[in-house]
Symmetry: C2
Subunit: 83 residues, 2 copies
């Protein structure tokens, strides 16, 4: 079966996100002073073949922990849907 | 009212995504040969104050088009919820 995974990887809430902070500062310059607390992470999509949704979920979890996310600084969440 | 926005910015489907291609290649090395077509974009969260959901939505759209997304190479989508 074919699945599509959507993964969000974000810096931990407790950590400073310098890129997000810079963007928050820039919001004033484009006329949006009411925007706060911008945080920037990664959005990753992938296609995978697996026997069932459970296997697909375990594959995505492996991909995140072994390769995509740095668990010291980032946390991840994902959704899977069959295509 | 306070809103929270979740924005996904992805490279256009028609464009080559070199970062995603490199990650797709690495999947084999971590024992996941059945993962294909990895595409990597940005996930951005922000908090904003607006009079209503429509105003919030227009603010997020402005932020995306003026600052966050490069519309030549990327497309964006977002969701907004009141907090």
């Amino acid at each position: 079966m074919k699945f599509e995974a959507h993964i969000n990887i974000m810096p931990h809430k407790a950590l400073l996100d310098p890129q997000g902070k810079a963007v928050t500062g820039s919001m004033k310059n484009i006329g949006l002073p009411n925007v706060h607390d911008v945080r920037i992470g990664k959005h990753i999509t992938m296609e995978l073949e697996a026997a069932n949704e459970q296997e697909a979920s375990s594959m995505v979890e492996q991909a995140c922990t072994k390769l995509l996310a740095n668990l010291i600084m980032e946390s991840f969440e994902f959704t899977i849907k069959q295509v």
